[in-house]
């Protein structure tokens, strides 16, 4: 598996098809980190094992990475879903990126164009695992007050470092709502209301877009279980909107059953 990724990366770089391969490599200690391989002879630094979980799609919209030239990206399922969503949001044109796809069963998947990525993502729809559903279930059994107190307690730890935003491939806005200050829609300070407003706003902006990669939860230095907020919305959308291609917040239907929207 690892050898195949290295081989593919070497080919793509040698032929000049791409300028950089974004993948995983050894970090410090037992950690894994993103690598940006630019020479074929460095392709052997790429690795693939169970530690390789970061959603690398976050780098596809990063200015300095794009400045290197056309990238290829080592893409496990969550990265493939992210690319598909970013394509839907018109962040890529055909030929902008190359993808070294990795299936959930650890096979290389040939994804030569954006259409094949779309089809592959459609064939592997996002479903919450039993464990994720169980965690959501626990939240459901709480009363409204208990649930509110649970979140206030968790969010009281937030220091507004925005690692959740920075690590998320879907948070690519050049100017985030929290940075819009005429007027200031979202309170900036890391106090109770500021933290609640920030995380609710972010969850709503991810409605129907979140690919459940869990990067926000992993990135959070104070371990706020942000995935639960997003999974709650994923579950709601599955019930109310189905596997619609449009994303829920932007969907408009003149025959909407809710009066206020018409």
């Amino acid at each position: 598996m690892q050898d195949k990724i290295r081989q593919k990366a070497r080919e793509l770089l040698s032929s000049g098809a791409v300028k950089v391969v974004i993948g995983y490599g050894e970090g410090t200690g037992s950690r894994v980190r993103a690598l940006f391989i630019q020479k074929p002879e460095d392709a052997d630094r790429l690795i693939m094992d169970e530690r390789c979980v970061q959603n690398l799609a976050v780098y596809l919209t990063k200015h300095e990475v794009r400045a290197i030239g056309k990238p290829a990206i080592v893409a496990r399922m969550h990265v493939i879903r992210s690319i598909n969503q970013l394509t839907y949001e018109e962040q890529f044109n055909e030929g902008d990126i190359a993808v070294i796809g990795i299936s959930d069963s650890n096979e290389i998947v040939d994804l030569p164009d954006l259409k094949s990525i779309k089809e592959y993502a459609a064939g592997n729809p996002l479903v919450l695992t039993a464990e994720e559903k169980a965690d959501l279930g626990k939240l459901e059994t709480m009363t409204r007050e208990e649930r509110w107190n649970y979140w206030i307690e968790e969010l009281s730890n937030c220091i507004k470092c925005y690692a959740c935003r920075a690590s998320c491939p879907m948070c690519y806005c050049p100017r985030c709502t929290v940075e819009v200050n005429q007027p200031q829609w979202i309170s900036v300070p890391a106090h109770e209301i500021g933290n609640v407003e920030w995380h609710i706003m972010r969850a709503m902006h991810l409605a129907g877009r979140c690919v459940n990669c869990g990067e926000c939860t992993r990135a959070c230095p104070v371990k706020i279980p942000l995935r639960l907020l997003n999974q709650r919305i994923i579950a709601d959308i599955a019930v109310n909107f189905g596997q619609s291609e449009e994303y829920a917040l932007a969907a408009f239907n003149p025959n909407d059953k809710e009066d206020f929207i018409r």
Binding site: A34, F36, E64, A163, A219
Partner: protein, 336 residues
């Protein structure tokens, strides 16, 4: 003036209770959902037992993540201002690691040296630091490379080192420390030549900080900033977990004609940190922001404030979601 005493480990609880009954707020490391955070405690039993370093530093006590500076009311062409509410009661912070205590020299230099910041001064003057030496370290620790050590007394008012027989060796370092020890004389007995060094973690020196500081001014245009920061995602985690990062942002929050002015932590890792009103950004890309972080700590602060802006606590490396390891990066810079 360091005076050496012995305090029984079990006496820490009595000390906390005594401080509390004297009206002080007592902060100590508490384990909370997989994190170790400084929280107010009533007893020693609430304190986390076994950890190398706390998740966040104790910076929040003296430099809160957001703090009220003043209140204001606007009228027809008028603004009236009033002072922020009275300061909270004095604080004692127990369990501060020597690297974190050392970081106070950096925070003090920024907030007190050229201009004495009244808000900060009232807090630091009102805070007593009881450090606890490090008996262990991990691969992220490098205090000895930045002039510190696991039993360093700088910045602590009292430093406790766990020695044999369930005792702490208590080094009483400052007037504030002496006042605190004098308030509970029954808990301290005379020390008898305990060997402090044998109870300290072995933290190897990994780079020559003076060489790094001397080298950095010539590296401003180097490629190293780009190669090191390609994977940096531009969050503020490193700054916010850092005990020595001091940058802030000012936010006015209004409700009708009344408002509050707040000082909040800020980070040079954010693009918006240097964004001008005109739209021009002198630090347009992440490599420039990463360079600023390293330059500020290892070049500008030593040059302007005579302190190294990094104390080797390792928090930024532990917390970084993308493995930006400062020790590795500084060693790379040294080797250039």
């Amino acid at each position: 003036m360091t005076d050496k005493k012995i305090m029984k480990k079990g006496s820490l609880d009595e000390l906390i209770k005594k401080l509390k009954s004297g009206g002080k707020r007592v902060f100590a490391p508490v384990e909370k959902g997989g994190k170790i955070l400084f929280e107010e405690v009533d007893s020693a039993s609430a304190m986390a037992a076994d950890y190398v370093q706390t998740t966040l530093s104790a910076k929040d006590v003296i430099l809160p993540r957001c703090e009220e500076m003043m209140r204001f009311t606007t009228g027809q062409g008028t603004v009236s201002m009033e002072k922020a509410p009275d300061m909270p009661p004095p604080a004692v912070v127990i369990g501060v690691r020597p690297c974190d205590a050392r970081s106070l020299a950096v925070v003090n230099a920024v907030y007190l040296k050229d201009y004495s910041d009244a808000l900060y001064k009232s807090k630091i003057d009102n805070t007593t630091i009881i450090g606890i030496s490090c008996a262990k370290c991990d691969e992220y620790c490098f205090c000895t490379s930045v002039n510190g050590n696991p039993g360093d007394t700088e910045g602590s008012d009292i430093l406790l080192t766990e020695v044999d027989g369930g005792n702490y060796l208590a080094e009483i370092i400052t007037e504030k420390g002496k006042a605190l020890a004098d308030s509970a004389p029954e808990l301290f007995t005379a020390a008898g030549g305990e060997d402090k060094a044998k109870h300290l973690a072995d933290v190897k020196v990994q780079f020559d900080v003076r060489a790094v500081t001397a080298k950095l001014p010539g590296m401003f245009d180097g490629e190293v900033w780009i190669t090191q920061s390609l994977r940096c995602i531009g969050c503020g985690t490193c700054s916010y977990v850092c005990p020595a990062c001091t940058c802030f942002d000012i936010q006015d929050e209004t409700d009708g004609n009344r408002g509050v002015r707040l000082r909040c932590w800020d980070s040079c890792g954010f693009g918006i940190f240097t964004l001008h009103t005109s739209g021009h950004n002198p630090r347009e890309v992440q490599s420039q922001r990463w360079r600023q972080r390293i330059m500020h700590k290892f070049s500008y602060q030593p040059d302007q404030l005579q302190v190294t802006g990094c104390v080797g606590c390792g928090r930024c490396s532990r917390a970084c979601p993308v493995d930006m390891n400062i020790l590795q990066h500084i060693k790379e810079i040294e080797a250039q």
